[in-house]
């Protein structure tokens, strides 16, 4: 997890929740409980959260504070979940969103 800041010159070592497992598109990865899903994905190197309905273009984190809604994904079967403000929980099923579905467009 090279994308995590181990120690910060001003903030020191940040407190985190428990390290838990969750799945991204079926693959098991780890993140800290309570941190935004988007942070855990970013730390794991995931950039693309969804593909848009009309143009099928990739999108990811943009505002990171729950306003722009670009980072939405299908979480535990529910589409349009703003991953940048939704806390990670152990065992979450996080999937790339295609339009409003977790099925790739050619399978919809």
């Amino acid at each position: 997890m090279s994308e995590r800041i181990k120690e910060h010159p001003i903030l020191g070592v940040q407190e985190k929740g428990e390290l838990v497992k969750f799945t991204f598109d079926g693959k098991e990865i780890e993140g800290y409980e309570g941190e935004p899903i988007a942070a855990a994905l970013k730390a794991a190197g995931v950039m693309v959260h969804r593909y848009t309905q009309k143009e099928h273009k990739p999108r990811g984190i943009f505002c990171a504070i729950g306003r722009c809604t670009d980072c939405v994904m299908v979480v535990n079967g529910e589409p349009n979940v703003r991953t940048c403000i939704t806390p990670l929980a152990a065992g979450m099923d996080v999937r790339t969103q295609y339009g409003v579905s977790d099925q790739p467009f050619d399978e919809q």
């Binding site: 589409p79 349009n80 409003v100």
Partner: protein, 375 residues
């Protein structure tokens, strides 16, 4: 700026825009005056998008049936905009025996004037729309009903009318009509005096105040309606929905979102602060109503709510046509919250009426002067 035309239309809603479009198609010069800053700013942009016949009063049924047969099917092509018209039927849902009675009575009277509408039981309802809960025990089913997008349809009429040379002026609230030498002639706003040989008043609720200036009174009042829309959802169904109890109505749009309208029961007493505003109680109530019918929508997120006034007349149907006592004056108002689906037919028939003096559909029962005391 142009202030004279053959026809002056007061009101830039869907009725005004559609009438202007059909008049312009016949080569008539038209000015449309809209009081607010935006075209289609009243009920035209604030309704649930129903294009339905079932559930309507028989007096307005012929007109809406005419529109669904002759105008709606080709409207997107004609207006060069996607009106998102779907003709996939209308389910008017019932959950109690009392509902069944209400729906049966409405269906029977509509069948009498030639509408294909029938009662179906709960299982047949769920065969048509499998997402409906078991609480639904019956529905009236009208396969030729549907829904469309009121925003693009209204603005589509505006765009095409404008393209045909109609003058639209927004921010021009009409304060007075003036009869000159026995005929309607002038339309007064705070800024200008407009002149036309014919004047159509299609200003929704404001029509009453405007018509008062020439001594015409149409008994109507305002009533607040509220709608909400969800985020886009995977495609579920295409029917238009309503309920016997009128606790909600709506459909899934082409975009994937669900548009639902409804009420809290407190609408009549809503505070009128100059603009239609949502009550804090209504949207939660609509949500509770919807979830009883569609448990699957519980997780759908609401992204927006809005309110609009409907112009309610004492007998629930519009006033439409010629004002006999003032030559050159026409009215089209008091659509009672179901003016959208009927609008293309109203616009086309009014245009014909203004130009030829005749209509294809008899408007007699919608005459402005029909209101009588109860005894």
């Amino acid at each position: 700026m142009k202030t004279k035309a053959e026809v002056i239309i007061i009101g830039g809603g869907i009725i005004g825009c559609a009438t202007a479009y059909y008049l312009a198609k016949m080569g008539i010069e038209v000015i449309v005056l809209e009081g607010s800053d935006h075209i289609g700013n009243g009920g035209s942009s604030r309704n649930g998008g129903g294009v339905r016949q079932s559930g309507r009063d028989v007096r307005e049924l012929p007109l809406v049936m005419y529109g669904i047969r002759n105008l709606w099917p080709t409207l997107s092509e004609e207006l060069e905009v996607d009106c998102e018209y779907h003709q996939d039927g209308n389910l008017r849902l019932g959950k109690t025996e009392k509902h069944r009675e209400i729906l049966t009575r409405l269906a029977d009277s509509a069948r009498n004037v030639g509408l294909d509408v029938r009662m179906i039981d709960g299982d047949e309802v769920r065969a048509i729309n499998p997402y409906l809960s078991d609480e639904v025990i019956c529905a009236s089913w009208c396969p030729t009903d549907g829904h469309a997008n009121p925003l693009t349809t209204t603005l589509g009429y505006y765009k095409m009318a404008r393209r045909l040379g109609v003058t639209f002026i927004t921010g021009e609230p009409v304060t007075e009509l003036r009869v000159i030498k026995g005929k309607i002639r002038q339309v007064i706003t705070p800024n200008h005096v407009y002149e036309g040989e014919n004047v159509l008043v299609a200003a929704g609720l404001d029509s009453r105040e405007i018509l008062t200036t020439v001594g015409i009174d149409i008994p109507m009042t305002n009533s607040l309606l509220e709608c909400l829309v969800t985020e886009a959802q995977p495609h579920m169904f295409d029917q238009m929905l309503g309920t016997a109890e009128a606790d909600f109505y709506g459909h899934q749009t082409k975009h994937g979102s669900f548009v639902f309208g409804g009420s809290s029961g407190l609408e009549r007493y809503n505070k009128d602060n100059g603009t239609p505003v949502n009550s804090s109680k209504t949207a939660p109530c609509i949500c509770r109503g919807i979830m009883k019918y569609f448990p699957d929508l519980a997780n759908a997120k609401i992204v927006r709510t809005w309110a609009g006034w409907m112009d309610a007349s004492s007998d629930g149907v519009p006033s439409l046509g010629t004002v006999d006592e003032i030559p050159g004056l026409y009215v089209a108002c008091a659509f009672n919250g179901h003016g959208f689906g009927i609008a293309p037919a109203v616009g086309e028939q009014l245009a014909k009426l203004i130009v030829t003096g005749k209509t294809d559909v008899d408007l007699g029962e919608l005459h402005y002067d029909r209101y009588k005391a109860k005894i």
